[in-house]
């Protein structure tokens, strides 16, 4: 490395000091200027960044609302993803499993509130995080939905763009614990403590917003280029091809999947806090799968039973609804439901929930999130 340009030769301490200053002063100035720029535009940037997070869009907002409300009735917290949304195109009539449950439960007399924290795009990892805040209010029952498609990838789906929301709900101790769990499972390089720090500094979504803003510009360019070049686009993947692949891959090791670790941990904490829990397996289009390939329903049932045991649930806490719906109730290959599907999922859920609440009335509550974790 010696003899480079005019900077070689003997270096006196003052030479070295001057060299460092020449490097460091512009370095600090540029970093400070960029941070100042980001700070100046933090509100619009944060809006862009936060807008990407599924948790921020819906579940967290609803959770905030429920936390502010006085507790009048026992609360049943529901956690799940887009399989809770039922709609029938083309003239959409939309409902949710939560609404269906609410309607059935309260048909006669009001017995408990349904805190619906389901949100399209939520991952089991979020359930774990959302519970932290949800349990700060008294909760009488927690219901998890399990979407079997989220187990098809041996890793947890990336979805890092949504994870800042997770970190936001955690305090530092929990953020560190989640980080350890993520690393142990090889699930993600996402770093909850850093996200938590950014949240406290008010910068959580500013960087994400700046990056996302740039990506949006590129995305707009991409859409324009696609149209300008007249490149055809498909509206939907070929159903047969996808189901064939999925039917094979539904034969995965559910009990060994990182999602199971997350659910197991959440259930363990609910048990420790003496909060009743129901985990239900959302319906999949078994009828169609049977006709497409070497799908093995008995083997699937056996693997789901392994999952139940590995999570540590009793039969009473486990509700396997994966095969309850006929093919015509499904809207697409991802097992999203048509309008009528929500009610059919809601009914057995209500039966089981009522059994729990009758057996364990509203005294099964927590008042502090800090006690269990």
């Amino acid at each position: 490395m010696a003899g480079q340009g005019g900077r070689a030769g003997h270096e006196s301490p003052s030479d070295v000091r001057r060299a460092w200053l020449a490097l460091a002063v512009p370095f600090v100035a540029v970093v400070a200027a960029c941070l100042a720029l980001l700070w100046t535009y933090r509100e619009p940037l944060a809006k862009i960044g936060a807008g990407r997070g599924a948790a921020e869009r819906g579940a967290l907002r609803r959770l905030e609302k429920w936390r502010r409300k006085p507790v009048m009735l026992p609360r049943m917290v529901m956690l799940g993803d887009s399989l809770n949304v039922c709609t029938t195109p083309p003239a959409p009539r939309t409902t949710t499993v939560g609404l269906a449950v609410h309607a059935v439960i309260n048909r006669g007399h009001r017995r408990f509130d349904v805190v619906d924290l389901t949100q399209p795009g939520l991952l089991p990892l979020y359930y774990y995080a959302l519970l932290d805040d949800a349990l700060e209010t008294p909760v009488s029952l927690v219901v998890f939905e399990l979407n079997l498609r989220t187990f098809l990838d041996p890793r947890v789906r990336a979805g890092e763009e949504r994870l800042p929301g997770l970190a936001r709900t955690l305090d530092f101790d929990d953020a560190l614990r989640v980080r350890e769990a993520l690393e142990r499972e090889g699930m993600s390089t996402f770093d909850p403590p850093i996200m938590r720090l950014k949240q406290q500094l008010g910068l959580l979504y500013v960087f994400e917003g700046a990056r996302q803003g740039a990506l949006d510009l590129i995305g707009a360019g991409a859409a324009w280029a696609t149209a300008a070049l007249g490149l055809p686009r498909r509206s939907f993947p070929a159903f047969g091809e996808v189901t064939r692949r999925l039917s094979l891959s539904y034969m995965v090791d559910y009990a060994g999947h990182p999602n199971a670790t997350v659910i197991r941990e959440a259930v363990r904490e609910l048990h420790a806090a003496r909060v009743p829990v129901i985990v239900y397996v959302a319906p999949i289009d078994v009828e169609r799968l049977r006709g497409t390939s070497d799908f093995d329903p008995e083997e699937l049932a056996r693997r789901l039973e392994d999952l139940r045991v590995s999570i540590g649930l009793t039969n009473e806490e486990w509700l396997d609804l994966h095969a309850i719906l006929p093919s015509e109730r499904f809207r697409d290959y991802q097992n999203h439901l048509k309008f009528e599907g929500c009610a059919e999922v809601g009914r057995p859920l209500v039966d089981r929930a009522v059994r729990h609440l009758v057996k364990r009335p509203a005294d099964a509550r927590r008042t502090s999130a800090g006690t269990a974790r």
Partner: protein, 476 residues
Amino acid sequence: MLFNSLYFLVFLALVLIVHHGVLRSFAARKMFLLAVSWLFYASWSPRFLLLLIATTWIDFQLARIIHRTRAVSPARARALLIASLCLNLGLLAYFKYGLFLYDSAGAVLALPPAPGFLAVVVPLGISFYTFHSISYVIDTYRGIRPPTDSFPDFALYVAFFPQLIAGPITRWGFFGPQLATQPHVGMARIEASLFLLAVGYVKKVVCADSLGGFVDGVYGNIGEHGWIELLVAIYAYAFQIYFDFSGYTDIAMGVAGLLGFRLPENFRHPYLAENPSEFWRRWHISLSTWLRDYLYVPLGGNRHGTARTYVNLLITMLLGGLWHGAAWTFVVWGGFHGLWLAAHRALSGRDWWRTSLRTGDAAAPETPRTPRWLRRTVTFHLVALAWVPFRSASLGDALAFFEGIASGRPLLHPLPVGPILLVLIGLATHGLATRLEIASWWRTVPRPVQGAVYGLVVILMALFHAQSGRFIYFQF
């Protein structure tokens, strides 16, 4: 502790402060570097640190005994060499290939499911540090250089944290002499190291990880993407893996440089290669030269006739493919490169393929008749195509990938403009490299400008950190 994590930057800062600011003697600094290297490894798995230390110690002792006995008792030295190879390759085979070999045999012989002791986690970096030790013991056996008497020196050579996880695969002959005298870390070296760090981080965090998001999406759902997306994914992965691995190497070299050490060059603009042979002199140089010296040459190299040379090339590349992982996809990738190297060797000997420069100088190189740009284009495309089985989860996926391109399926998403831009940037930097030695040019840039650019790099890292992932070569 990933190089692209804040934790590593804090770790590095502490190491530099103690190394340069607190410790004065070289011996103390080396002991300190050994301790932090082991700590760095233990941060991933304390259990496997014991394995690393144990194998290091055994190889250290075996090499010393081999050195003492090779003159008086060659048979004993040979037996000890074989013992060392069995230990190192045995551990590698058990951790990395045990399950793969059992499953592959089981598919043919209808064996029961693999026993639990085969389903083990692969120790991080085992492929790299095992190759360090093997080359050290073989070089000792060959009498190329004597072994060191200092266990800490040898342990530091094996475990030096900048290169512990993913190389470059360093030879004792390169690293050992650096442990003899305390290096001077002047401003020139610091500036060169900072430049490498900045380039490495931009390659990794901005380029590789941005391309990775697109590539993962395509390879995760091959059947759903259109032919244009699949085609772009071929080029995108070619540059993702280049940016990722060469970025890692740049960071490793930069960190080593800040501590006063040099690591060998691992990449030399590989996509400028004009043939497969040149590609392997430009891509993962430390691995290809290792395979050449410790596998291809012992197999006989080109000393036993044409046919045997081709077979040796094929064996070397097949094993080189398998080194990347226990999967048939890597075997196919290695096999393709082996066949391609053999074919190139066969063709380049034909008169109709090449033409003499006719300078009158008998020693002058001969060049093929085809223009250089065409040779580069063809080589780049064949390399890029070979990455498809390398990246695919299975051979079935690789076939589905090529079928998808042939299908003419329309796009699933808008045209991937972002990845296309990054691929063009990758090509442009390769093209620029033919005209400009960027590192040399950078040294002429005024320091305030350098500092300002480093500031921008830090901001870029903060912007792109959220999407940043593991280094691809960590899994190998």
